[in-house]
Amino acid sequence: MTRRADFPLIFDHSVPGRIAVALPDADVPEVPIEEIVGRERLRREAAELPEVSELDLVRHYTRLSQRNYAIDVGFYPLGSCTMKYNPKVNEDAARLPGFARLHPNTPPELAQGALELLWRLEAMLCEISGMDAVTFQPSAGAHGEMTGLMLVRACLDDRGERRTRVIVPDSAHGTNPASAAMCGFEVVTVPSDARGNIDRAALRRVADGSVAALMLTNPNTLGLFEEHVVEVAEIIHGVGGLMYLDGANFNAVLGITRPGDQGFDVMHMNVHKTFSTPHGGGGPGAGPVAVKRALEPYLPTPTVERVGDRFVLQEDRPKSIGRVRAFNGNFGIYVRAYAYLRAYGPLLRQVSEAAVLNANYLLAKLRAHFDVPYDRTCMHEFVLSGRRQKQEHGVRTLDIAKRLLDYGYHAPTIYFPLIVDEAIMIEPAETESRQTLDAFAEALVQVAEECRTDPDLVRGAPHHTVVTRLDEVAAARKPNLRWRPKAEVGSRA
């Protein structure tokens, strides 16, 4: 039985001389290659790439794919990540040659369809967010955060204001302080209050003329709506700061409330969360940033603009912060987001209604079995605590998560937000059926039961996965980050 054996690496399939593609002949006059690029520039040793046939290649990656959990395989209640259904037709759209085969340096007059798509998408994002303009440059949420804060900075600089601090609640995602730091801001953390809102008293204490912006996530990372968002905006605006929204949780309030109306000046959206573009196992995503009119002059180049009945890529933006990447952003992802929005139209509101109802329904089923640190009406997700299980049975939240894998589910997000002890953050998303929620609740309740009756079973989990619990400590202590050709093994770490 080979079941216990290591799953082979692609390099293990390699045999010198194999190839999985056919290359045409050069069919141009033979010139010695050294004459073309110069002998001293020629590569001396070929790169140690695996040499496999097309079938070996196909089988390797097909089998690898089967060792992966995905939305198409099962329920993925990964809080904050919004793992919802990724419509298949959007994949078809993105693969149309008119999009997939379009070169980014194509003159805009030959890319009118693509530009019109972006222009229309911008209008839709503005309507949904209550903002005035959008940049498509940022490639993910964190990239959007950085870009948004740079806009804040550019605006304040333009006003001649030297503000150095960005306020971030203690419940914020790690990207928020990291993004602030990348823009050279000092990060000031404020705590949350007993209801899970930002602590307004503490906020007032730090809010002064040095504050460039407050970065707020709303609904916040506890899955709660900031009840006093309007007041918070007044506090920040009162000291001349700007309001930044981390829109990672925007999916909870589409058509229900608009950040622009709540007082936010700038926000990013995670189209790979809110607007259903597939996450690809770690990207590609897209993090377009939407701003109020006052920040528009600073948007990165290029922007998409309409001039008469033509669409252009506007590079001439004297106050722009510049670029945050090459070309026009993750266009292929925007094709999908656009298709998603056109599939819903004004019905988009139902997305948030169902997401929030699903979350509250699931919370109701689980409330009795776990601690609920902030027991309010949740939005699209909620945070439990595994404190009880840890204290009473010595089972950590990590163990509970691993045990859920045995039941065929992806685990919730754990240990985030940091302000909840043994946090278990559950987001069902609107595309899951009640039956799925019921079955998942049952499994989680059963794991809670196992924590009481058979804690070792839980601590030893997972038991039914292709590998059992992996040693992360060893991985970090002696990093093995790449395969090396046999001869080299051991020569370097």
Partner: protein
């Protein structure tokens, strides 16, 4: 607010009206609105969103097809455009595999035991990228080449504790612009070193850098298509105690050209699009980032490491996460979280499809066909090579007619001409950057040359 009277079934929403009411009841509410009472009344939206009406799937696809068809894509015009994105052959297998639902509908592999597919693919990608660049370690991807280069500069600052970077003017202008944006508020100064006849002159570089220089950033093949003298540039940088950051927009060149790791690069940052990824009007692409082993803990981005499970079986996990924002917050090496994992996977499949010998052969094919095109075009009276340096698959010509005019006339002949470099270098009015990959046949090259000859003479 009264409960919305209707619940319209939608293909992406399993919830039926009846279920909605039952589920509301189970949560002790009677109306959907009861779930949103925490939202201040004055900021609740009291009208439906003003969005175009919902489209059924066939109408949706018809609309998108119509938009797509209004673009001059590379299946319609014969593409000689390069300049940071390259029209290579993408073997059919690549996206049959990378496009498998288990890959593209997954999240970042936080639960390693059920994500071995993604993780192992990431480890293999890292390994292949090291082989390709000649570096020790590579991360599992950045957003794109430009942002990877910018992050490399920040990384160099952290490693050297110096605060100026010197960047060659022959680095792709988008990369330089991105670099400036990234470092502006970090107290890092950027100095641009003019190119000399299309390449970066090591002597001038030596004269430019000093004790404050954290990094020298050069690109090869550079934005003009020219190959830089990497070893000399590395020596210059190292002699001044600076790191050499090498940017690569065309990684296929590494099939033929000595890799940066072999001539002293400290960090390689570049664009992985040419490795099996479609043009996509600019994205999604993937940033490549590779460095020396000693620098790994200063590296941004996700890293996959090998480890073992409780039975001793090999397995893979995300590792060295203490560099990352979700643990280190404002002290992290970067804020990057979601990256371009799927594009990296496609790149790995592509590299494995070509393999050791295939990569070399496809790289040669690029060089040979570009060389042939360059020879044919420079034989046209009035057309000459702009620079003397050797090239890979891109080269700059000087034209006797305005490049944009020529492009317009080529278009009518079904050809998407080169890039008018004036767009990026206003002083280079007559410069035309052409790219010839393995996807261009000899017949297409001949047609281009004939067309240029005819139009230039006209």
């Amino acid at each position: 607010m009264a409960q919305a009277p209707h619940w319209q079934p939608h293909r992406y929403l399993p919830m039926t009206a009846a279920e909605r009411d039952e589920m509301l009841r189970a949560t002790g509410r009677t109306a959907i609105e009861d779930l949103f009472t925490d939202i201040p009344a004055e900021v609740r939206l009291r009208r439906p969103l003003a969005l175009p009406p919902a489209l059924a799937e066939p109408e949706l696809l018809a609309h998108l097809r119509e938009l797509a068809e209004r673009n001059a894509h590379a299946d319609r015009l014969v593409c000689f455009l390069g300049g940071g994105a390259y029209d290579h052959v993408v073997p059919s297998v690549v996206w049959h595999l990378a496009g498998r639902a288990e890959f593209y509908t997954a999240y970042t592999p936080y639960q390693a035991e059920i994500m071995q597919g993604e993780l192992q693919a990431g480890y293999e990608y890292q390994s292949m990228l090291c082989a390709l660049t000649g570096m020790d370690v590579a991360n599992a991807s950045m957003y794109d080449g430009a942002s990877a280069a910018a992050e490399a500069a920040v990384m160099a600052r952290d490693l050297t504790r110096r605060d100026t970077v010197v960047v060659s003017a022959a680095v792709h202008p988008h990369y330089r612009r991105t670099l400036e944006t990234y470092v502006r508020h970090l107290g890092i100064g950027v100095r641009t070193l003019a190119h000399t006849d299309g390449v970066t002159d090591p002597a001038r570089l030596r004269a430019t850098i000093g004790a404050g220089t954290a990094a020298v950033i050069v690109q090869t093949p550079n934005v003009f298509g020219c190959l830089e003298d990497g070893a000399a540039l590395a020596a210059a940088a190292h002699d001044a105690g600076a790191l050499l950051v090498v940017t690569v927009t065309e990684p296929l060149s590494l099939g033929l050209i000595e890799p940066p790791g072999a001539w002293g690069a400290d960090i390689v940052a570049g664009e992985g699009q040419p490795l099996g990824n479609h043009l996509n009007f600019g994205g999604p692409y993937l940033g490549m980032l590779a460095t020396r082993e000693a620098f790994v803990r200063r590296m941004p981005g996700r890293l996959v490491g090998a480890t073992t499970d409780r039975e001793g079986r090999r397995g893979f996990v995300l590792t060295l996460q203490t560099r990352e924002q979700h643990i280190r917050r404002e002290k992290a090496t970067s804020n990057i979280c979601t990256n371009e994992a799927l594009n990296a996977l496609a790149a790995a499949v592509y590299l494995a499809a070509l393999g050791k010998t295939g990569l070399r052969r496809v790289a040669e094919l690029n060089a040979r066909r570009a060389h042939y095109a360059r020879t044919r075009l420079t034989a046209i009276s009035g057309v000459r090579a702009a620079f003397a340096a050797p090239v890979f698959n891109e080269f700059t010509l000087r034209l006797p007619v305005p490049p944009d005019d020529l492009n317009a006339r080529l278009r009518a002949r079904g050809i998407l001409g080169g890039l008018a470099l004036r767009r990026w270098y206003p002083e280079m009015e007559d410069a035309w950057l052409l790219c010839v990959t393995e996807a261009r046949t000899r017949a297409q090259i001949d047609a281009l040359a004939d067309a240029v000859a005819a139009e230039v003479a006209a």
